[in-house]
């Protein structure tokens, strides 16, 4: 069985983010870049399936730059060191909106013909939470988003997925091929082991210029435009109140939340 797992390069959630003075984006100097944490969970799930189903293959796919300071190859190699078998990077320096990402992934699915695509439920940089759903729509494949448990049938023809929905858990079964997007509790990703890091160097990391996909019909035109980024307002100092009555009063008159 062949599994594609998606990888996006994002700022480390531990780094403090500064918005550029002109509001055109974030300051990227001295930012540490990592695999989007939800994608890391997706890779881990793909690897666990591979470990259960003999003869499986995990291929990482990403869209982004191939040279400093935006070199997604670093994150792909980390994924390879975790245990993926190969990686494909669609090379572009443009920041793409979810629909274009989904279209590009659909092109890769055409050529790679996976049985399952595992993705993070969202990327922690712009939190769109859209590419997985859009990819399913473009391909006409079934999807299970926000997965907290994934199980394949014995014949690997279908998947049963438990999803975290408002107020509870929902269990879905669907025929493969399909799309799963990973939620936080799906698994705990492994660290790349030292032998894994050594082996990663010899694994294939294929680069495809985005132009090649455009020639094959990929439409890179977007519909949204980044207008402005602003830092969140500075947190006000807290206030100690004397009594519950006063708290209720202030929540009503000052904070205006009740």
């Amino acid at each position: 069985m062949k599994i594609l797992a998606t990888v996006k390069r994002v700022p480390d959630p531990e780094t403090s983010i500064k918005v550029k003075p002109d509001g055109s984006g974030i300051v990227t100097d001295n930012v540490k870049w990592v695999i989007n944490p939800f994608d890391e969970i997706a890779i881990e799930e793909a690897l666990r399936i591979k470990e259960k189903v003999a003869g499986s293959e995990v291929v990482l796919v990403s869209i982004g730059g191939n040279a400093a300071p935006n070199d997604v190859k670093e994150q792909l190699r980390t994924g390879l060191a975790m245990g993926a078998d190969g990686a494909i990077l669609v090379v572009t320096d443009a920041a793409l909106e979810p629909l274009v990402v989904a279209r590009a992934l659909a092109k890769l699915v055409e050529t790679e013909k996976p049985d399952l695509v595992v993705m993070g439920k969202q990327a922690i940089d712009d939190d769109s939470n859209a590419a997985g759903q859009m990819l399913a729509e473009l391909l006409g494949w079934p999807q299970a988003t926000f997965a907290s448990k994934v199980e394949l049938s014995g014949d690997q023809k279908s998947a049963t997925v438990i999803r975290e929905v408002d107020g509870g858990l929902e269990t879905l079964r669907f025929p493969l091929p399909g799309i799963v997007t990973a939620d936080l509790r799906l698994n705990e990703p492994r660290y790349a082991s030292l032998p894994g890091i050594m082996k990663a160097r010899k694994k294939e990391l294929k680069e495809i210029p985005i132009g090649d996909l455009e020639k094959a019909g990929l439409d890179v035109s977007g519909r949204t435009q980044l207008v402005k980024m602003e830092p969140p307002p500075k947190r006000q100092a807290g206030k100690l109140v004397e009594s519950v009555d006063q708290l209720v009063e202030l929540l009503h008159t000052e904070a205006k939340v009740i």
Binding site: T78, A81, Y191, A192, S193, L194, P195, I197, M198
Partner: protein
């Protein structure tokens, strides 16, 4: 080598994440309590596949030694392959060993000590001097940390002059030996499963002329007592204890090499060199952590209406920390390059390396305490712990004074 490779950085990132997730939250119990470090160290070994790598390396080495032994038995003359060629190159070189040391030392230099003594000193002593059967019996479990090792030479009356004042003895007794003596400051002593015990063969002759013998002892052997951890200044994640041997009877199979005539101090130089160069990586971890913390603090702590980083006396401390970091990192780069070229440092260079590294770590850590002011003296900010830990680098593996005399001896020898 002028910078870390992408692979090195990948190892560093993975290690750093592990340390932040598994060790940092437990720092209180590890560094301010008596929690032994072994479970965390074993988890690290498993997580990063280090145990598997150790098993493979060991299997290869034993297979090679057996082949050599068989060929010798047939009367063939087989050249002995230099150990580094067979061991180093395939598993990513010295960086693979040094980076985990650096990363652990940002929080727990004691853990590196506990691991280093078990794997570096104890297991390697058995590997370099033991028979094949002894290696298979004791060394592999030490390399994977399934068993914990201790290496015991220091005694209450003999430290820097370890061999000269040594009182621990072995007397022949039928086919075996009876061992007596007391060892102190022994890393992992309280918990060790396998102990390398260094003593002198008492044949009724003048102690100065006695042969040095090395034995392997197992926990629970009658007559062997392992003390509780001793109270100490720092390095709390490394248990240190005393060993008491009262008529401990062992068979000849416990004598390393199973011969009294092996070159007694063979391997000692290689061991000293390895220990001393390891200190450079330890010092780098301590210095990196102190430097990073200090930079953050200098930026954010405001006095007299300005961040303290704007005062020149604080800037001087930061600049010195950076100089120490650069020097130590360059030393580590040199170690990695030398290992890759199949070379190891001469003892005098390793001594110089250790002397500088220990002093740099101590100085930087104390300056970090100073830069943090009252907070520096408080445990919450961690630099006081690193300062207490750094001090040991100037004492064990040969004191500063002993390094100085060895460097000078080599300078004056020519």
């Amino acid at each position: 080598m002028i910078e870390w490779s992408e692979q090195h950085l990948m190892i560093r990132d993975a290690m750093r994440r592990f340390v932040e997730a598994e060790i940092k939250p437990r720092l209180e119990e590890l560094e301010h309590g008596d929690t032994p470090p072994y479970d965390v160290l074993r988890k690290m070994m498993r997580t990063f596949g280090l145990d598997e790598m150790a098993r493979l390396r060991f299997a290869k080495r034993i297979a090679r030694e057996k082949a050599v032994e068989a060929a010798r038995a047939r009367g063939e003359d087989v050249p002995v392959e230099p150990a580094h060629e067979a061991d180093g190159a395939t598993d990513g070189g010295a960086g693979m060993q040094l980076i985990p040391i650096i990363e652990l030392c940002r929080y727990c230099p004691g853990m590196v000590t506990a691991m280093g003594v078990s794997v570096g000193l104890t297991a390697n002593a058995i590997l370099s001097k033991g028979t094949i059967a002894q290696k298979e019996r004791w060394a592999l479990d030490l390399f994977t940390l399934e068993k914990i090792g201790a290496w015991a030479i220091t005694e209450p009356g003999s430290g820097s002059d370890a061999f000269g004042g040594m009182k621990a003895t072995a007397r022949r007794d039928g086919d075996g030996y009876v061992l007596n003596g007391q060892k102190t400051f022994i890393t992992n002593g309280p918990y060790a499963d396998t102990i390398v015990f260094i003593c002198k063969l008492d044949e009724g002759n003048d102690p100065k002329e006695r042969k040095v013998l090395t034995f392997v002892l197992e926990r629970g052997t009658p007559g062997l007592t392992q003390s509780k951890p001793m109270r100490k200044m720092g390095l709390h994640s490394s248990p240190t204890g005393e060993l008491f041997l009262d008529d401990v009877r062992v068979g000849r199979d416990h004598l390393l090499g199973e011969t009294e005539d092996g070159p007694a101090r063979s391997g000692a130089k290689a061991t000293f060199t390895m220990e001393r160069t390891g200190v450079a990586a330890m010092a780098l971890g301590i210095v990196e952590q102190c430097r990073e913390r200090s930079i953050d603090y200098a930026r954010t702590r405001v006095q007299f209406g300005r961040p303290i980083g704007e005062f020149q006396l604080i800037q001087l401390k930061l600049a010195k920390m950076e100089v120490a970091r650069m020097n130590l990192q360059n030393l580590v780069f040199r170690l990695i390059e030398m290992a890759a070229a199949g070379k190891s440092m001469e003892l005098a260079e390793a001594s110089a390396c250790k002397l500088y590294a220990a002093q740099a770590a101590m100085e930087v850590a104390l300056e970090a305490v100073q830069l943090f002011g009252g907070n520096g003296y408080m445990a919450e900010f961690q630099v006081e712990q690193l300062a207490r830990d750094a001090k040991v680098l100037q004492i064990y593996a040969g004191t500063d004074e002993i390094q100085v005399s060895q460097i000078a001896r080599s300078l004056l020898a020519g």
